[in-house]
């Protein structure tokens, strides 16, 4: 299993294999002990009486599924608006006109430096006090605007670094056949940059999905808030949080795996010459 050489250790010899086996066994024992300890510690929280509410269809149709729907609706809307904003800002940062470049650059840097939650709270109050949006839409609009500005800025940076990592010959060839600089950008550089950045964009979806949970501060009825309400009714907070965590982990793990698969596939297809300066894609930034 662990025979492959790594920078940290050799392929193990007979003695090392014995040592590894012992450590492996100790490791498993400790691991099982730790899991058992956690379960024992939570034994009052994971009783059948506290888990049974999840067998009740009401818990799902009345709370969890509407919550999940709200989470996905906010995430999906934000993805679309963030991609639109991101492409516009990314093009702006690559524009030939200096003033557009500077304004877009300031915009991107500002919204990358400001926490998503501040943006959400601000836009929520903005919709309440200034635009006087109907109260049913205030929270939704706040969540979407907060997510859009932050993730749009991140996507703009992805697109910019994607374009910069393309070989210079691409734009030179475009100019040589008589395209204008903006035509070079839209018909030669952007398609390649977006393809190259596709795995990072998918990783960004995970970020957006996780960030929708912040909406609870501005009373958005996402899956976390709905679940909290359900659990205060049923008195099974810990069990509920574990179920919600499982929902998030399954969805996000699927998205992350999809991103990694996409990256491998793109690399195998040789869609791009991968220069050493290409920005790292897989881990993504730790947003909430």
């Amino acid at each position: 299993m662990n025979q492959q050489a790594s920078v940290l250790f050799d392929a193990p010899g007979p003695r090392a294999q014995k040592v590894h086996l012992i450590i492996t066994i100790i490791g498993w024992v400790l691991l099982i002990a730790a899991v058992a300890g956690v379960l024992w510690g939570l034994r009052d929280e994971l009783t059948p009486a506290k888990l049974l509410p999840f067998a009740d269809p009401m818990a799902w149709t009345g709370y969890l599924l509407p919550g999940l729907g709200a989470t996905l609706a906010a995430a999906a809307t934000s993805v679309v608006t963030a991609i639109i904003l991101g492409v516009l800002l990314g093009c702006g940062r690559l524009s030939g006109i200096k003033i557009i470049r500077i304004v877009c650059g300031l915009f991107v840097e500002f919204f990358r430096a400001v926490p998503v939650l501040l943006m959400m709270v601000f836009s929520w109050y903005f919709f309440i006090f200034v635009l006087r949006v109907p109260s049913a839409w205030q929270s939704f609009a706040g969540v979407v605007v907060g997510l859009t500005f932050y993730n749009g800025s991140v996507i703009a940076e992805l697109i910019r670094s994607g374009v910069h990592s393309l070989p210079k010959g691409q734009s030179e060839a475009g100019l040589a056949v008589g395209l204008t600089p903006s035509q070079v950008l839209t018909s030669i550089q952007l398609p390649q940059a977006i393809t190259a950045m596709l795995p990072s964009l998918v990783s960004q979806l995970v970020v957006i999905l996780k960030d929708t949970a912040l909406g609870s501060l501005i009373v958005y009825s996402d899956v976390l808030k709905q679940a909290t309400e359900l659990s205060t009714w049923k008195g099974n907070l810990i069990a509920t949080f574990i179920v919600v965590a499982l929902i998030f982990i399954v969805v996000n793990y699927a998205l992350t795996s999809f991103a990694q698969w996409l990256e491998r596939r793109l690399r195998a297809r040789g869609a791009r010459p991968r220069p050493a300066t290409a920005p790292p894609t897989a881990p993504g930034l730790p947003t909430v």
Partner: protein, 227 residues
């Protein structure tokens, strides 16, 4: 400007940012410690430790920080009755402690990934050379591989720290009086000062994150291993 002065007198903005800074620094230290341990597990030759490391990273990284914080605050503290300190401690102190734990546990998974990516920047030849001169596993780790790995991990670690500083705002969801929660209160009481308040708090975060970013970028250039 009368309203503005009144607002500044009512809300202690400096203290709010001091809480944010405490949460950032202590959370970052915790994340660094846990993350380093997890990273070492992930790159160790022992299968069970590798699985534990990978499991930790995949579970924590895919869970929202808000959920983790709720789990700590509402689940472990209120529902399970686990106390971090005396029951007589003020709620603010307790919520800060739980927030530090949640922030540290959450960002540890990103620290682990950053360090692992740093390990991946160390060429195979370095480890081979270390073994060739007779260093054992731990010695080659300590003297050859990890120093280079940390130097290669400076830039990603800087990104994690910046994200961590911004993510401390999540503690507002459990009612900790840090910058974001204070901003919410300020706007609730003085909606006419909406823009000023937002600009002020945003400026505070820019003051915290911008120098951090510049420092880590120059650091990563300075300590980069020339290859």
């Amino acid at each position: 400007m009368g309203k503005f002065g009144q607002m500044m007198a009512q809300f202690d903005l400096l203290h709010a940012f001091w809480v944010t800074i405490q949460l950032s620094v202590l959370g970052a230290l915790g994340a660094l410690v846990i993350g380093t341990v997890v990273a070492i597990m992930r790159v160790s030759p022992v299968r069970s430790l590798q699985l534990f490391g990978a499991g930790y990273v995949n579970i924590i990284r895919n869970t929202p920080l808000t959920l983790l914080l709720f789990f700590c605050w509402f689940g472990l503290r209120i529902s399970s009755g686990i106390q971090l300190g005396l029951p007589s401690d003020p709620t603010q102190v307790l919520s800060l402690r739980w927030a530090i734990i949640a922030v540290a546990v959450y960002h540890a998974s990103f620290v682990a990934e950053a360090i692992r990516s740093g390990v991946n920047t160390v060429p195979q030849g370095q480890a081979e050379a270390a073994r060739a001169i007779g260093l054992g596993f731990f010695d080659s780790l300590r003297h050859v591989v990890l120093p280079q790995a940390f130097r290669g991990a400076v830039a990603p670690l800087g990104n994690v720290l910046i994200a961590l500083i911004k993510n401390t705002t999540v503690a507002a969801t459990i009612g900790l009086y840090e910058a974001a929660y204070t901003m919410k209160g300020m706007i609730e009481f003085y909606p006419q000062l909406l823009y000023v308040t937002f600009a002020l708090i945003a400026l505070g975060f820019i003051i915290l994150t911008l120098p951090t970013g510049i420092f880590f970028t120059s650091m990563s250039r300075k300590v980069a291993v020339q290859r």
